[in-house]
């Protein structure tokens, strides 16, 4: 990608606009892989509880870089690029597993759990013939490593040498979010993922956008499960902090709905559409308990660029959005409970699972809407989105979620890393 010419000419309106070209241009995508995903960010890699024993591993992708996340001999966590140092073969290809060492199938070069090259078959040749040259040093041919840090059992890694420590990158607000939400030991209840035929940023915008939540997800609104009239807020880090707006928290308390005069105005679908026969036949799906004792019923914490921790009622999950080319992406869900849940709580989380994921009553639209945007871009490469709800800055509005400040925050981070 040519650094000399402007990769993207950004509209003068700044972060209240995003040019449509960023959602489909292959050159922009290439630059994002380098400047964002291999750049100065921390990327979610999984949970410590997913790899408890030595050699336990899970695979992850950091942008387009395949990564092995494993529990190493010292009981610590290694994140290694999943690419043999010999001729590039993918070393491990099952999503989860246990490996005492990493042996490449092609020529069986052997790496230890820290990524160091331990042995090379026939390196001494056979009967003194062939083999590796004397100048070949195993030490020069280990696997590429990521820096790894954890917080409350969540594992993050980076390919950057420059990015500051994880907690500084996250800032006090996010650190607080994780202390609140991940303070106790989790238990994995399961996995699934969604293929999205849309650019990765369209889903990330969606996750940073509480404005859509109560409108697009009519199911939730009709049942008064999430409405902007509830007590709630968006938080994006200390004002003036150099990462202000990069990560966003949106929370609300269902019990505090001040009533729906706005929702009763005839201006939008979820407020007006008559759902013939609507009303639940079986309300067990929305039976819930106060998960954290703070009355919060929806708690969505994002970490730039592509991580989400969610609490929706008693459904807990991590979501990570893996870009796959300019016009595709995969949203990977890890469904969680707490290690000390009783059977009744687990059953409740499973049943509430109907609210989230690819069939989620209140999440089913989030993946779909991205493809609707992707398609809408056709013929509009010279145009841009408009994001002025709640003003033009990334300042939050106390106790209000009727704002696109979160999306503007996302683009603030994007422009900083991309240099556009």
């Amino acid at each position: 990608m040519d650094q000399d010419q402007a990769l993207i000419s950004w509209p003068e309106e700044g972060v209240t606009r995003a040019p449509f070209s960023v959602y489909s241009d292959p050159a922009v995508h290439e630059a994002e892989m380098t400047r964002i995903f291999r750049g100065a960010i921390w990327h979610y890699l999984g949970l410590e509880i997913e790899i408890p024993e030595t050699g336990d591993y899970r695979l992850m992708e950091v942008g387009d870089t395949p990564v092995i996340v494993l529990r190493n001999g010292a009981g610590g966590i290694s994140a290694l690029v999943n690419r043999c140092a010999h001729r590039g073969t993918t070393l491990l290809f099952e999503p989860f597993g246990n490996a005492k060492e990493l042996m490449c199938v092609y020529h069986n070069w052997l790496f230890d759990l820290d990524g160091d090259l331990k042995s090379v078959p026939f390196d001494r040749g056979i009967n003194g013939k062939g083999g590796m040259p004397d100048t070949f040093r195993k030490a020069d041919h280990g696997l590429d490593r990521l820096r790894v840090e954890t917080i409350n059992g969540l594992i993050f890694g980076t390919l950057s040498d420059d990015v500051e420590p994880l907690r500084d990158y996250l800032g006090p607000q996010v650190v607080g979010s994780f202390e609140r939400s991940a303070g106790r030991k989790f238990r994995v209840l399961g996995y699934y993922s969604q293929w999205l035929s849309s650019n990765w940023k369209l889903y990330c915008e969606n996750a940073s956008d509480p404005y859509h939540a109560t409108i697009l997800h009519a199911w939730a609104t009709k049942l008064k499960l999430n409405r902007l009239t509830m007590e709630g807020a968006i938080e994006m880090g200390r004002e003036g902090w150099d990462r202000e707006g990069w990560h966003q928290l949106s929370w609300s308390k269902m019990a505090t709905d001040k009533g729906g005069e706005v929702y009763d105005r005839a201006e939008f679908r979820s407020g007006t559409e008559s759902f013939e026969a609507f009303g639940l036949h079986d309300t067990s799906v929305i039976e819930q308990w106060d998960e954290y004792g703070d009355g919060i019923t929806t708690f969505i914490q994002t970490v730039f660029p592509n991580f989400v921790f969610q609490q929706i009622h008693n459904t807990l999950a991590t979501r990570v959005l893996v870009p796959r080319g300019p016009e595709g992406s995969e949203l990977i869900w890890t469904i969680l409970g707490f290690a000390d849940d009783d059977e009744k709580q687990t059953a409740g989380r499973i049943k509430q699972g109907n609210l989230i994921g690819p069939s989620g009553f209140i999440s089913l639209e989030d993946g779909m809407v991205g493809s609707l945007v992707q398609r809408g871009l056709g013929g509009g490469r010279d145009k841009a989105t408009v994001m002025e709800m709640g003003g033009r800055s990334i300042k939050t509005i106390s106790n209000s979620r009727a704002s696109e400040c979160g999306v503007r925050g996302l683009w603030t981070a994007y422009r900083a890393l991309m240099g556009v």
């Binding site: 994995v188 293929w195 009519a218 759902f275 079986d282 639209e365």
Partner: protein
């Protein structure tokens, strides 16, 4: 389980059970989803999960209905609440095998393949996997007491609104 354990006996699948399984598909594929809940007993178990969750013993699933009311709520979601691009399924069901045969309670397993066609005419294999059914005879009709749908794939193409 092995071959011999699987087939308790070589009972033919009764015509009424074949009809039930076919009707299940036609309700969904031919736009009469309203008829779908009545094919289940109440209570019942309808569950969509992935093979990986199934193998690894993870309880989380993609869809879970344990009452006819919940099935009906899925119908309402499809018809009037949730927003998604209209599409059609087409079910293929084969390799139907009787696992357990009794006059009024049958266990069957079968393979399914579902294609999804969007209104723009694009068409693709959307899901493949296994059905594990428990079918019971209640007031003169066979109904699904359990249908567990185990998808071979852990990745879903965007969303599942219509049941599989």
């Amino acid at each position: 389980m092995n071959a011999t354990e699987v087939v308790i006996d070589n009972a033919h699948v009764p015509a009424a059970i074949s009809a039930l399984m076919a009707d299940y598909a036609h309700c969904i594929d031919n736009d009469r989803i309203e008829d779908w809940p009545a094919l289940f007993t109440d209570p019942c178990l309808y569950k969509i999960t992935t093979r990986d969750n199934y193998i690894r013993g993870f309880p989380a699933c993609i869809m879970l209905c344990d009452s006819r009311g919940m099935l009906m709520d899925r119908v309402v979601s499809v018809r009037s609440t949730n927003v998604f691009e209209p599409h059609r399924y087409r079910h293929m069901v084969s390799c139907i095998q009787v696992v357990e045969a009794a006059r009024d309670a049958w266990r069957l397993q079968s393979n399914y393949l579902v294609t999804r066609t969007m209104l723009d005419g694009t068409m693709a294999v959307f899901s493949t996997g296994e059905y594990q059914d428990r079918i019971v005879l209640t007031d003169g009709a066979y109904r699904f007491n359990e249908r567990i749908v185990i998808c071979d794939h852990g990745m879903i193409n965007n969303l599942i609104a219509l049941p599989l």
